[in-house]
Symmetry: C2
Subunit: 240 residues, 2 copies
């Protein structure tokens, strides 16, 4: 590499974050209000990256401004760089995927922007580039969700089995056989049954479960934790 770093090698860099949450049986994405001229009304939370700040730190800053949260599960997605954007200026947009627990938002009043959560199957019309970013991010979410049990990041500390199924059904846009699905998860011994029941959605009530966090971190990268079995190649379906 060259020794000098003239301005021609400095690129205007921005972070977009796609934050997923789960609420009322819907997986949702966070958008912020956009009042600019050519606005679509809503856009992805984002900001430019300061030369003195890492990409991840910038993403966390954006998260804090829009949700008040100071940390989250975070994955890098991909860069989107179109030379011929509508503005003459070339901007390198780098996208992060974040998963948060929306129950954790209660009581946080540290939100500095107008924000709204949209179910992933009922997104408003936004800028086409951003629609593409969100679509690509959902694909990546599916890929990650197959390899690693990350969907727990969307759930509260206590959650019910129907909620767990619902999260996956939302993300993959298809139904699962509840019996097979639950059996699979119970067999991992990641789930610890609680004595209390949630009565929020039924008269009978559904038992709460908690995640065995120790086992979770231990097995996170274990190929046996792969959810791929529930989603086998035997059956025709697609990630895209």
């Amino acid at each position: 590499m060259k020794q000098r770093d003239p301005d021609e090698f400095r690129v205007l860099t921005a972070i977009d974050i796609v934050v997923f949450g789960f609420e009322q049986n819907d997986v949702k994405v966070l958008l912020v209000g956009d009042d600019s001229m050519e606005s679509y009304g809503w856009k992805l939370p984002g900001s430019y990256v300061q030369a003195s700040e890492t990409l991840a730190a910038t993403a966390v800053d954006i998260l804090a401004k829009t949700t008040g949260l100071k940390q989250a599960y975070m994955e890098f997605v991909m860069p989107f760089d179109r030379l011929s954007s509508c503005s003459a200026q070339r901007v390198l947009r780098i996208c992060y995927l974040l998963l948060i627990n929306m129950k954790g938002l209660n009581g946080i009043s540290d939100i500095r922007q107008r924000v709204e959560w949209f179910p992933i199957d009922q997104m408003p019309v936004i800028q086409p580039d951003e629609q593409e970013i969100i679509q690509k991010t959902i694909v990546q979410l599916r890929l990650s969700a197959i390899r690693q049990p990350i969907m727990f990041e969307l759930l509260d500390e206590r959650f019910t089995l129907p909620e767990l199924v619902s999260v996956y059904e939302n993300v993959f846009g298809r139904k699962f056989d509840v019996r097979n699905f639950v059996r699979k998860f119970l067999s991992t011994s990641l789930l610890i049954k609680q004595n209390e029941k949630s009565k929020e959605t039924s008269r009978k009530g559904a038992y709460y479960y908690k995640l065995d966090h120790e086992l979770y971190s231990l097995l996170f990268d274990d190929p046996h934790m792969s959810v791929a079995n529930m989603i086998s190649t035997r059956h025709k379906w697609s990630l895209f």
Copy 2:
């Protein structure tokens, strides 16, 4: 996002490429000679990104300088940004994975750097950051190879079944059962048997095959093309 783009938002950006090839039964990575002061002798090909050029175009430029090739299968990997690099300057390094056919290199003399190919299990000691980049890239290669039949990109137009098996064994660092492996690939009907045999590695000779390119592009994203079946979760092994 803010309207202005002062220099504080311009980030010195560089591309590193990890180019994979296959030669003499080894999957290899391309490194370039490094004569700088604190050198390890070898480093990943790379360069800064010009503000007027896309990341992908920069990656292709680097490829051309080091191999003479003007195109290749390319995947984005991830950015690596450490604020506290050895140099005081913060550099955003963005990594791409490339797959090329090394037979295609014959006769190309358009190489402007000292380069060498190292088998992925016999890499020289290089800068720790770059070692990490290569390791992460190999993991991504495995992931992609499971979902899509990209390994053909490493092979020549004509290739033998033992070569195909060997590529996968190299990348995954494990042996496969040749019978099951071959059966799997033949069942995809992606392979067209030729009449000629390669006598390069045995007296008996191995039949050449060609890829059905049309079917290949058609089925590239088809979940049924997933090689995951050969690498099921039933068996204990790891991508990492």
